[in-house]
């Protein structure tokens, strides 16, 4: 049992650190003095920086070499993330594309798609977004209603709405889950498409959250034309393709919890700065409980990494770490606001932002309730909740739910 790098990992770390030492000066400044303020300029600068990271081998660490990646393992990915954090420079802009969508295309896409899209994705020339969730398909993702209709010439026409779409406002492409056959049970009638976000028929609208900022979008598709070559993983196989993306999402969340900044050191720092609170038994007790659980998650992450290194795929139990992180951060925000009073809720307070962000995060990447269902069934082996949608064609299901199909 150890937390040390192997000689190969140490060599990789040294390589990454040396590259960052040479190139950190070229990174865009996003905070503090000299920071770029214009939103469009930030995105442009981060795209250029992602390209440099890719050139330096610090993007797509786990991607196969033939697609421009490094062909390395998840440990090296974590080492890379650690070194980027250590150098205090931004990471890649398109973490969703490179972390989740690219690997899905690598797993299910055809050679034309891999050749056309992967390189530009990795270098930040074309940013991607994930078009899965809909207003009526979140926890029950297989209930997507965005409809793709086959045309006589083999192309498709897409109509529908997606939501919670990060980066859609500047994305070039999206990976979209659509219903192609409503007359079969819902998991069977879906297909995954690559869609151009600049095409006529695509409308992106920012979705403002509690903080007032718009970090997500809703995206509308109105008779969008998509050619036959845009299907990823075969017609009718959309669910299997989506599961690959969701597996990579779990890996990303499982390894990235610390990256959200919800850690015991940061929260303890906020309490330590208050002369009274740091001696108050009730405050200390709450801090101790919150911090213990967040420390646990750090080591759960190391356990996940160990499993990945042995070639095992992280199971749904990784979702428990997300539950712990989100609920721990919610309690920490509450505690810090109790200590600081209304100042914690000031417009420019990091705590106000965190407090506003967390209620939504509770539902992101799987609601707590769905995660607990999945873990109860797949890890503990408890019997599933009886389901009323099994084997029923999607169109019938919709009419039962009283919706207009």
């Amino acid at each position: 049992m150890d937390l040390d790098d192997t000689p190969e990992q140490a060599a990789y770390r040294a390589e990454a650190r040396a590259w960052l030492d040479r190139h950190a000066g070229e990174a865009p400044v996003l905070q503090g003095p000299g920071a770029i303020e214009d939103e469009d300029e930030i995105i442009a600068a981060r795209r250029v920086w992602q390209g440099k990271l890719a050139e330096g081998g610090l993007a797509g660490v786990v991607w196969p070499k033939e697609y421009g990646g490094q062909g390395r393992g998840p440990i090296e990915q974590v080492i890379c993330n650690q070194e980027i954090a250590r150098a205090k420079v931004p990471g890649i802009l398109d973490a969703i594309g490179v972390g989740m969508l690219g690997p899905t295309i690598i797993a299910h896409g055809d050679e034309d798609q891999k050749g056309r899209y992967l390189g530009a994705m990795l270098h930040g020339d074309e940013v991607w977004c994930q078009l899965f969730s809909e207003p009526a398909a979140g926890s029950d993702l297989a209930a997507v209603q965005t409809r793709a209709r086959l045309q006589e010439d083999g192309s498709w026409r897409l109509t529908g709405q997606k939501v919670w779409t990060t980066n859609a406002q500047f994305a070039s492409y999206g990976l979209l889950l659509a219903r192609t056959d409503a007359d079969v049970p819902k998991h069977k009638g879906m297909t995954m498409f690559i869609v151009s976000m600049d095409a006529p028929g695509v409308t992106v609208r920012g979705l403002r959250q509690i903080s007032g900022e718009a970090e997500f979008n809703e995206v509308f598709f109105d008779d969008l034309a998509v050619d036959a070559g845009a299907v990823v993983g075969g017609v009718g196989n959309g669910w299997g393709t989506a599961l690959t993306t969701l597996m990579y999402e779990r890996v990303t969340i499982g390894l990235g919890g610390e990256g959200l900044g919800y850690n015991s050191t940061r929260f303890a720092g906020a309490i330590a700065g208050d002369e009274h609170a740091r001696r108050d038994p009730e405050v200390r007790h709450q801090l101790g409980e919150i911090a213990s659980e967040l420390l646990a998650v750090r080591f759960t992450g190391y356990r996940t990494l160990t499993a990945l290194q042995k070639g095992q795929i992280p199971g749904p139990e990784a979702g428990l770490a997300k539950v712990t992180i989100v609920n721990g951060a919610i309690k920490a925000g509450d505690l810090i606001a109790d200590v600081q009073g209304p100042d914690a809720l000031a417009e420019d307070s990091e705590w106000a932002y965190m407090i506003s962000f967390l209620p939504g995060l509770k539902s992101a990447g799987g609601t707590e309730e769905i995660l607990r269902n999945t873990i109860g069934e797949r890890v503990l082996g408890l019997p599933p909740e009886p389901r009323l949608d099994k084997g029923i064609p999607f169109s019938e299901l919709r009419s039962k739910e009283g919706a207009v199909a």
């Binding site: 049992m1 213990s292 646990a296 080591f299 356990r303 160990t306 503990l380 019997p383």
Partner: protein, 380 residues
């Protein structure tokens, strides 16, 4: 990076499970609660045969030369079946002797288990207090650790009181901290020396042997263990009781899940209801968090000693709360029968309630986590 069990560790755990399965520990626990304490099996010979008393003693002195995480694996197995093996007292004591250059004379007998030690638990100073303190009966302020007066080269006379000391009854030697000229030193005291009184007691959980210790000018040998080593013994005890508690959580969860699959109401297994399923995944969540912290503590003891107080205290905090929650969930999933003498759930519940109050209590461990982090923040 490697946080997986080695083949040897898997073997150690399986061997422990096998050795403990030869005893009917749960039946004995229930009988002992009914007043028949002689029902509790003497498991020390089995522990000696397995080599557990010497787990943390160097091979050169007859021990296994293993580390805290290995000891936690054994304690976890003890916790699974509520086995009352006096390792919680013996192992921290053996660690102090192993860290002392003049503790060697005792080590071989401690390693084989021919002599059994009990640890005199004393909590090290914190960010809010510069005192070494011990558990007492009642009262809000924790008393100071026993005091020592020098009695010639390497010897001292020790006086003080400690309450609810795990595994003290029947121990051959007591090992712990005494304050000599206000400086903490390691001491060993023969249990049968004059001035030593150990009043055996049990509380609520008959499987746990406890003692109130009174020392009046008891003759002690002064060890040359460092202050860090004396503090580490406290944190080792915290990590061990955490591991033991999490072992009990494993059983509580297994039994509850099994029942939730078998028991039907309204035409379906109760485990299919979200209310039941979610409460069982909450037990799993706390168990997994606790397990991760055992890895942290196991690694930190030698991998990053400065973090060992934080890691072990966090493990204790999570482990203690996890067992309380698991025992309560075990009872509620089973319904009324879970709260009766017929069922094992009350035995785990009793274990949970007592364990949380021993060795400073989980509340103090939680406070220590905060204190360690505040100190880290100050240093940053």
């Amino acid at each position: 990076m490697n946080l997986a069990l080695s083949d040897e560790q898997v073997f150690l755990r399986e061997a422990a499970r096998g050795a403990l399965s030869r005893f009917k520990t749960l039946e004995a626990a229930r009988e002992a609660l009914d007043g028949n304490e002689s029902a509790l099996p003497d498991m020390w010979p089995a522990a000696c045969e397995a080599g557990w008393p010497g787990l943390l003693i160097d091979e050169a002195h007859g021990g296994a030369g293993l580390d805290a995480f290995d000891a936690m694996l054994v304690l976890g197995e003890c916790g699974r079946v509520l086995a009352g093996i006096p390792l919680l007292g013996h192992l921290p004591a053996s660690a102090i002797c192993n860290d002392s250059s003049n503790g060697a004379s005792l080590l071989e007998a401690l390693a084989t288990g021919e002599r059994r030690a009990a640890y005199l638990p004393a909590s090290p100073p914190s960010d809010l207090s510069d005192r070494w303190s011990v558990d007492s009966r009642g009262g809000s302020e924790r008393p100071s650790a026993p005091t020592a007066t020098s009695a010639g080269e390497g010897a001292a006379k020790v006086s003080g009181k400690l309450s609810f000391v795990p595994d003290a009854p029947g121990a051959d030697v007591l090992v712990g901290v005494a304050l000599l000229d206000d400086k903490p030193v390691g001491v060993t005291i023969e249990a049968n020396a004059s001035g030593v009184s150990i009043e055996a007691t049990t509380r609520y959980d008959a499987t746990r042997s406890l003692g109130h210790i009174s020392l009046k000018d008891a003759t002690a040998t002064v060890l040359d263990a460092s202050e860090e080593s004396l503090a580490a013994a406290w944190y080792l005890a915290q990590a061990l009781i955490a591991a033991e508690s999490l072992g009990s959580v494993e059983t509580a969860l297994d039994v509850s899940v099994q029942y939730a699959k078998e028991r039907h109401t309204f035409g379906r297994a109760i485990g299919s209801y979200q209310a039941v399923k979610h409460s069982l995944t909450e037990v799993l969540r706390q168990l997994e968090n606790g397990r991760s912290l055992l890895y942290y503590a196991g690694w930190a003891r030698h991998g990053s000693p400065g973090e060992f107080p934080l890691a072990a205290s966090a493990a204790r905090s999570v482990g203690g709360r996890a067992l309380d929650h698991a025992a309560r969930t075990m009872i509620s999933v089973h319904g009324g029968i879970g709260a009766t003498w017929e069922h094992d759930a009350p035995l785990y519940f009793r274990r949970a309630q007592l364990s949380r109050r021993l060795l400073g209590g989980t509340g103090a461990a939680t406070d220590r986590v905060a204190g360690e982090l505040i100190a880290q923040a100050d240093a940053a």
